[in-house]
Amino acid sequence: MNTPLVEIEHLRVGYRNASGEMIHVLRDVSLDVSMGESIGIVGESGCGKSTLALAFMGYLRRGSERIAGTVRFDGRDLFALDDKALTRLRGGQIAVIPQNAGQALTPTLRIGAQIAEALALHTTLSPKAVSSRVVELLMQVRLPTPEVLARRYPHELSGGQQQRVAIAMAIASQPSLLVLDEPTTGLDVTTQAAILDLLAGLQREMGVAMICVSHDIGMIARLSQRVAVLYGGEIAEMGETQALLRKPLHPYTRGLLAAIPTIHDTAIPRGISGHPPIFTDYSVGCAFAPRCAHADETCRDVSPALDLHRSDDVRQVRCHHFASLLEKTPPPPLNRVPSVPPGEQHSPLLELVDVSMRYGHDGIVEVIRRRMSNEASDRPMTVQAVGFSVHRGETVALVGESGSGKSTIVRAISGLMRPLAGGIAFAGKPLAGSIDQRPQEVRRAIQIIFQNPDASLNPRHTVADILAQPLRLYFRLNERECRQRAAALLERVRLNTAYLTRYPAQLSGGEKQRVAIARAFAAEPDLVLCDEITSALDVSVQAAILELLVDLQRERGTAYIVIAHDLAVVRALADRVAVLKGGRICEIDSVDEVYAPPYHPYTEQLLASVLQLPAHAANGAGYALPTYTISPSR
């Protein structure tokens, strides 16, 4: 075996919270990276993966401290180096590709200057050679017109271009280790696929070792030979990527993989109940025990070690019982049955006919100028002549990249924004453009759930207050009745009634979204608009929310309009799918038609960009060998 390029040994990192308690973020992580090797680190929010990524560079966030352990790069302990040696190493032999390049590029410096800075610091090129090297690098990350782009400021570039610039900056010094921290967050699927292609290509060409940290297993599978699953600040399982995905051993890994929806499967994935732990002391028992269906006394009292297990690959597993669990099969995914067969209905619940919309207002100066010169506004239409219908109990999904107009359509249906042209009918009657002109009965019947529950729940209200608002408004219930109904609603979204007196800040992300769902269902609606409601959540939580949505739909026959950028979520949830591009519908059909050949060309492009894990094997226990090629057009 090669001598490792990086050796992390028993690393423990923590920070002190407001009351001075030590919060353990990384608890005893050991990991080796060989030259040219690509390792993925996967985990959900709060598992310590970003802290681990930064530790590879000998960097700790302000306030964090190293409690124990070492990080050796090329034999040198990074935490023992002085500032000077560290600055030479960082951006030199070890380079980072940051999460959200848009914020990681200095806004007041031109692109070229920022790349040149890295070159000036870590290479011996002459100033003249530096500027031609900048252009070469921009070309290497496949940016068009590199000379022009070098003169631009970061905000003038699109998200994908910014990410490419960050990559160019990272490879400028020809590092031997690249650290990727969620390198594609916030990018559209097609852009994401292109960036991953570029990274995989660079890794092959340059032979650079790569650490890729992400919550997205699909991405890790695309980039990494080995993968470490991080849970509660320690490695739960580690092994060769393909083998691990095919046959996960740790219960957490199994749960995590089962929670991921796939574009091949209409089933609703299974979530993991509970939420990740926060450690105020070093270690008591297995970190996953509180959420594990198979946990026993041993698990709660004795911390399992990271054991070696050899079968198809060399696997490390931190579980007392993994061997005996192999025989047990996890519960199968849920199959969704449409509550009302579409064929039995005649008139649709909601119908949009040729709706066109445009965003924004012109400023006073602009309006006067136009009046004087008799110009029409030249702002482009956000939505153009869109028409579709939704039946009772049906789920229609709107998919498309950012700017495709899907959110704008939802705003029109909810009465928040008036269409410029076209009409909307609800339950056979025309729907007024503005919420103010709609009768109370119609307002009640159409509810909306937003993407980010942090923003959609008033931080000053208790859960009881939040749920009481629609009850008071639509049903004129008194205080006591509101409380009873609110408690019943919480039970319907599987939350304990003790939550009634809590404030949103005291809830986890998934719990908040459940409250938001309960608020929408408090109105006993016929149609619920779901705007990316799971995209801010971890996959294990997302699966549980999807399950809840399906259950609620079955109970009440509610129709959904779902906006999602994740095509696998759409596949799991929707009966029919409308694919949008540039404010127009380019395809609308049943979910099986849309996801099967022959494809509409744009749909095919979207589907091809999805980083997909393989379909669940028949018994749901393991995974077939994945095929990770990004398919050319069929």
Binding site: G92, H155, V365
Partner: protein, 329 residues
């Protein structure tokens, strides 16, 4: 990359700048209306003030009003006044019986000398200290300077002035307590006499700017791009100069403009404590004399300085912040 509005970045910037200028002119026009209306609404006018006790003589009062055209409708007189302003004619001070431009002229210069001197000392000091304590956040140095700043900010300026005069003039005897100088004294003669007022002004203004610079520097230091620069291996000094300062200074431009507006608009209290012949003391005199035309002109002048400086700050921010200057992708 196609540009949405079919215009280049230069044109975009020009449009934004023009918009700011138009708004400033509009605001100034509103100030003129408000100033005129207020003086108009208050009981008494130029003639009652001019005649003093003689105003009880109704006939003389009427004659005076007739002579000065005060019986015409207010709108008409406003038009005349505003027209005069536009052509550079500020009118005549009734009480002082001199053109207002003459009365204000050298006093405005004096105020500017004092204000600019304080700004030249104070602004770099404030920015430097602000950045320094942001970098040394939560150390003894930061706590000491920050709490001193809190005191300097909260004390009334006449208290600060009184205390500093006591220390430097009476205890140490370094500087005179009052500036005994002629209104038209040449600048060279002016400066040595106003060291103490400059110190007082500097002391009062440094705190405000420094606190803002500290906050915005801390914010920038915590940004992703500064972390990125560290991970890129940029030495700390270079991070501060290239990555932190240009971004941290942007929000400071506005408060610097506000401070300058305060300094150049006549620091009434400090001028009066030191008996300094600037527009601040002139304003006090004009008010006690009920010299309404002079008060109107001074109010407008001070508003002009304030609006002008804010406009410059806006344009400067526009020029220095690439995010405003150029279009988004």
């Amino acid at each position: 990359m196609p540009r949405p509005y079919g215009s280049g970045p230069g044109e975009h910037m020009l449009k934004l700048a023009l918009q700011r200028v138009i708004l400033a002119v509009f605001t100034l026009a509103m100030v003129a209306v408000v100033v005129f209306a207020t003086t108009e609404l208050l009981p008494g006018d130029v003639c009652t003030a001019f005649l003093g006790r003689d105003a009880r003589d109704v006939e003389r009062l009427e004659r005076c009003r007739e002579e000065r055209g005060l019986n015409r409708p207010a709108v008409e007189r406003f038009g005349e006044w505003a027209g005069g302003l536009l052509s550079g004619d500020l009118g005549t001070s009734v009480i002082r019986d001199r053109p207002i431009a003459d009365v204000i002229g050298s006093r405005l210069r004096n105020t500017f000398v004092l204000g600019i001197a304080a700004a030249v000392v104070g602004i770099p000091l404030a920015v430097g200290l602000g950045v320094l304590i942001a970098i040394k956040r939560d150390t003894a140095l930061d706590v000491t300077i920050s709490s001193t700043a809190l005191f300097a900010m909260t004390l009334p300026d006449f208290v600060t002035a009184t205390v500093l005069v006591f220390i430097f003039s009476f205890v140490l005897g370094w500087f005179p307590a009052v500036t005994l100088i002629n209104v038209n004294a040449p600048i060279a003669e002016l400066l040595p006499n106003i060291i103490l007022p400059i110190m007082v002004l500097t002391f009062v203004m440094v705190a405000h700017i420094m606190r803002l610079v500290r906050t915005s520097t801390i914010e920038v230091l915590a940004s992703d791009y500064v972390q990125m620069a560290r991970l890129k291996g940029v030495p700390f000094r270079q991070i501060v100069w290239r990555h932190v300062l240009p971004n941290a200074m942007l929000p400071a431009i506005n408060i610097v403009a506000l401070t300058l507006g305060w300094l150049l608009g006549g620091t009434t209290i400090i001028e009066s404590i030191f008996n300094y012949p600037g527009i601040g003391t002139l304003l006090l005199n004009a008010i006690s004399d009920r010299d309404l035309p002079l008060v109107q002109s001074l109010a407008l002048l001070m508003a002009l300085i304030y609006i002008g400086l804010n406009l410059i700050a806006d344009l400067l921010t526009l020029a220095l912040n690439p995010r405003l200057r150029t279009l988004r992708a």
